[in-house]
Structure formats: structure tokens, C-alpha cells
Assembly symmetry: C2
Homo-oligomer: 200 residues x 2
């Protein structure tokens, strides 16, 4: 089978534990890495170009859009954010699995431009646990939490556009699940090298 | 996620080790079982109805065909062989994973009648190892082995119709691979119960 890496897109509502899962995957497997996005926003204190983001001028970013050099991008207020195609494809060709943590809109762009990308949606175990997690954070008002829970339910009606849905009830089990998905996806027939099979 | 079992269809050329893999899966996991086919052929000495096969009269088998009660069937010379729909579906509903070891034609019928079925094609590591395995068996002439190898290569050009392709180089690794596939397939979005998520 081909040794090429896998592009894994991770989405999910705030409070589902996407970030913890991504960090857990990085710790478990050295051949997994996070993608670095490019952006036109100003670097914050301590942020480094090529580490946190690739910081670009607006004109340079728009050139990447024109040349179809982004796997997905979005404009948030005055700033652009996007995933550089060549950066990701280089990593994949070197056999690294690349994780992208992005929203549904970004994930759908990826699926269109790079159909081999595998879309995983992380779900909290249930609505009341999500409410509890968001309340414990203490960063949102009750009203904004209820609004968010409503939009989570709305989001979950669109998850059939994802390849997999992982319930994050227990972190280690959720990580096992994502690892099984990566392993399974590496057994897809398009990765089989018939010529090599016949030659050996 | 739904607790319903998974229908796993295993195909592959003679000498790929399908049988060993199926037996290995049964040993590893108690909730996995083999499907029992029905047939119109006569039971051989020691064969038991409901264990090795469901032995049916030709008329009864043809009634099953008419009533669309078979997930797939084939006629081999004067005898019918097929997979009983209700037997498999009952097992799945009880949460058991059901393995079916059948050929490409049967697998394609399954995919049509039961799209949730997962098709796995087992491949030997390479052509020369397959030649070696078949030669060691000593049951075929060199000429018939070469014919078979030719048809394996022909078969392998159709594997893109399978969901997964597992190279059986090392048995334990191949079993891990199939288990990862089962686990991944249980994370498909169609298995997610949104109502349950919202109620709890």
C-alpha cells in the first residue's frame, strides 16, 4: 500500500474536545503533525512565522487564492485565514499524516479540492454534558451558552457530510477511535500498488 | 452511536488467507460470528443443518429468491447457494458483527441490497509469494497455478469496488487492520443517534 500520509480534518463544536484530541494524537504518534495555516492578521506577542502561522501580506494571500494554492480559506472580518496546499501536500508525500482543525465550511472546501481528505467530526457525549463543560469554563453567559447549544444541534444535523463522527466521552477511547480511522483509511483500494504487487 | 452489528464481506483470491483471517477474527472477538449460507446441495457426511448450511429444497430456495429474502445468491451447476437476509439481519440487530466469506459477484450483490455492508478484499503480499503458497499446497498443477495467478491479477483490477483492501503479509497485523476497519465503520455518521444526544 502507498506510504503517503493522510489528511485528517477535525471539526466539532466548542467544548467537544477537538484541541485535546489533536494534541493527544500528536503525542501518540510521531508521524502525525498539525498543519500550519496562513493568515493576513498581525502576529500577536510571542507568535512566530512558520510556527503558529505563516504571516502574509494581503496581496500575497490573494495571489495564493488566485493561483488555487489554498486547500480552503475564509475571510473573518478584515483578515484572511487559509490552508496552504503545497505545505500540506509536501508533508503527505513525505509520509506524515497531517491534521487540520477547521470548521464545517472549511472542511467542505477541503473535501471538494482534496477528496482523499478524511473528515472527522468530534461530538460531546450528550447535550447536558456539553452544557456542563461550557458552564464550567465560565467564559460565556447562560444566554450565550444556550444559543451555542442550539447551534450545536443544528450543526449535528449536517454531520452526514462527514466521513466519521467520534463521540468524545472518554479521551483515550476517542483517540483509539481516531487511530482506527487513520489505519482503516490507509487500507483504501486507491492506495494499492498493483504494479508493485505484480513485479515482486 | 448505534449498537447494531456490522456486516463484513470478506473476499479475495485462493491463497490470500481469507479463511485464516475469518477464523482469527472469530477467536479475537466473541461478538463476531460467521453467516450461515443456505444451499440446495445434499449435506455431506457430518454436515449439520443450521451449522454448516441451511439445507433447503430447490422449491423453497426459489421461493426465497422470489420474495427477495436473500442478500445474494448464485447457482453453481445444479445447486443454489445464498445468504439468508433475515438470519443476517437478526444477528446485526442483536449487536453481533457478521462475517460473510464470498466472491466478488456475491459481494457486489450485497453492496446493492445492503449498502451498509462493508466490503474487504484480502490480498497476498505479492504475486511470487502467492505462487509459492499455491505450489506448497500441492493440489494444483503448475499450469493451473499460472492460470490462477493470471486471474488474480485480473481480479485485482476490480478492487476499487471494495471499501478496503487488506494485504495479508503478517496474520496478526492483517487482523489488527480488519479490527480497525470494523471500529472505524462503527463511527459512520449514519449510526449517530441525534435524538438520544439531545435528550440526555
Amino acid at each position: 500500500m502507498s506510504k503517503e500520509g493522510l489528511l485528517l480534518v477535525i471539526s466539532g463544536p466548542s467544548g467537544a474536545g477537538k484541541g485535546t484530541i489533536c494534541q493527544g494524537l500528536l503525542k501518540r504518534d510521531e508521524s502525525i503533525c498539525l498543519s500550519i495555516s496562513c493568515t493576513t492578521r498581525q502576529p500577536r506577542t510571542g507568535e512566530q512565522d512558520g510556527v503558529n502561522y505563516f504571516f502574509l501580506k494581503k496581496g500575497d494571500f490573494e495571489k495564493l487564492i488566485e493561483e488555487d494554492q489554498l486547500l480552503e480559506y475564509a475571510q473573518v472580518y478584515d483578515n484572511y485565514y487559509g490552508t496552504p496546499r503545497s505545505y500540506v501536500l509536501d508533508k503527505l508525500q513525505r509520509g506524515e499524516d497531517v491534521i487540520l482543525e477547521i470548521d464545517i465550511q472549511g472542511a467542505m472546501q477541503i473535501k471538494q479540492k482534496f477528496p482523499q481528505g478524511v473528515l472527522v467530526f468530534i461530538v460531546p457525549p450528550c447535550l447536558s454534558i456539553l452544557r456542563e463543560r461550557l458552564t464550567k469554563r465560565g467564559t460565556d453567559s447562560m444566554e450565550s451558552i444556550e444559543k451555542r447549544l442550539h447551534s450545536v444541534c443544528e450543526e449535528l444535523t449536517h454531520t452526514e457530510r462527514y466521513d466519521y463522527l467520534v463521540v468524545n466521552d472518554n479521551l483515550e477511547q476517542a483517540l483509539d477511535q481516531v487511530e482506527a480511522i487513520i489505519r482503516a483509511e490507509k487500507s483504501r483500494p486507491y492506495r494499492f500498488d498493483l504494479k508493485k504487487f505484480m513485479k515482486c
